[in-house]
Symmetry: C2
Subunit: 246 residues, 2 copies
Amino acid sequence: MSNPLVRKLESYVPLSEADRLCLIDVVGPGRMVAARTDIIHEGDDPRAVSVILDGWACRYRQFINGRRQIVSFLLPGDPCDPHVFLLDEMDHTIGAITPVLLGQISGPALQAMTARSPQLDLAFHREALATAAVQREWTISLGSRTGIERLAHLFCELHARLAAVGLAEAETCPMPITQNDLGDAMGQTSVHINRTLQELRGMGLITLRSRRLTIHDPIALARLAHFDSAYLHMTEQPGRAVARRA
Amino acid sequence: MSNPLVRKLESYVPLSEADRLCLIDVVGPGRMVAARTDIIHEGDDPRAVSVILDGWACRYRQFINGRRQIVSFLLPGDPCDPHVFLLDEMDHTIGAITPVLLGQISGPALQAMTARSPQLDLAFHREALATAAVQREWTISLGSRTGIERLAHLFCELHARLAAVGLAEAETCPMPITQNDLGDAMGQTSVHINRTLQELRGMGLITLRSRRLTIHDPIALARLAHFDSAYLHMTEQPGRAVARRA
DNA sequence: CGGCTGGTTGATTGGTTTCAACAAGCGTGG
DNA sequence: CCACGCTTGTTGAAACCAATCAACCAGCCG
């Protein structure tokens, strides 16, 4: 399997063979983090950037009353910087959903790399913009979309992002999250997620079974969700252009 | 009145007199944008960054069904880049709420400035982090906070951000937005905002009248909102440290 | 003064939560 | 091997929060 960070950055900007090799070299083999544990690295270089190489994680905030809000999902290829520059206390946590293979790019290495390659610099820049756009889109989902639209939009987003790193086929992708996680992400109870899922199934749009999502009608799903992949800022690739302006 | 961009960046990193003068020089006098119009600049340098020098604006998405979702408010001192690098179509719009005075920093000028001053570079970097944190906090608000908590949190956020640029007094600040705007931001109807406002007033926490917000009990308001100003990443300043870990 | 925008109120509807119970799948230890 | 406990998914009924619809009021401006 090719390096997901390379795949992801290439979805923004074409990279040279040298760029690819440099990236792979700098990230290293990574270390494992167990599922359902927090990804924290107290003693790490605060200017380093961690990268998900395999598995799923999420950013979340835990409230005292037990409620948990997931603010984004982190997929293979995603950089995660819970504490860049260690400004002050962390305002949120990053937790592994599945077992996660975590790479790390040291601050100096990152700086040297982007100074040498304008392509890589642009790619990292666009990655940051895309991440911000995803966060805005979540705000829009939670504020303006109905329960079923929200869930449909999340599935569209995750499928598109997984496809960008080669982890999704045309109509199916892994989905290793529980209905409880979905509820914590969508600001709803797992009970209601369950009912909404049944509605989506009943409409013949998706199947979600044994940690795998199948989208039977991508266009209808995107239309229902008001999903337009433009905000992900990925360059078009064959087989992934299905759901634009649907 | 001192330049709000300078004030804002100084809330992250102390700046030298040279930094300040350079910033003011580069931003220029700015141009006016009428209230209730969109801030767009088709022909502008796509690598330039616009900055709100006076007035309020907001990022929003307009849906075909008429619904509008505001995803953030832009206050004096805030950079706004609806189209950085013009990746593809814009995924959202920036609209002026009040009349807005808009400055602009050209791409080369910005690059030269941050290359020369590590302080300025760090300040812009932290500004971006803080903006991302604000966006996450909105996701949390819309997903996990009740109507009254949401509104309370927004008031805490706006007051803190205005205070950082010297536009708020201890317990009062301008609030030039309608209940309709509040509804579009909080994912609720203006009718319900109205009722929630009455509840906040009834609890003796705030007064909102003639475009001005007065917070009678900042600590109680922050506690109600689960507001902790840490996520804004501003360095502590006397008179603004009221609502941390409340 | 009329017309408009922004704010307020009441009654009804509907989407979600809550509470509670139960079924299915799975790993583990007796 | 099966029993057990635990997590995850599913279902039903009642309570509740917020949307909707529809008026009406106040202030402002041309």
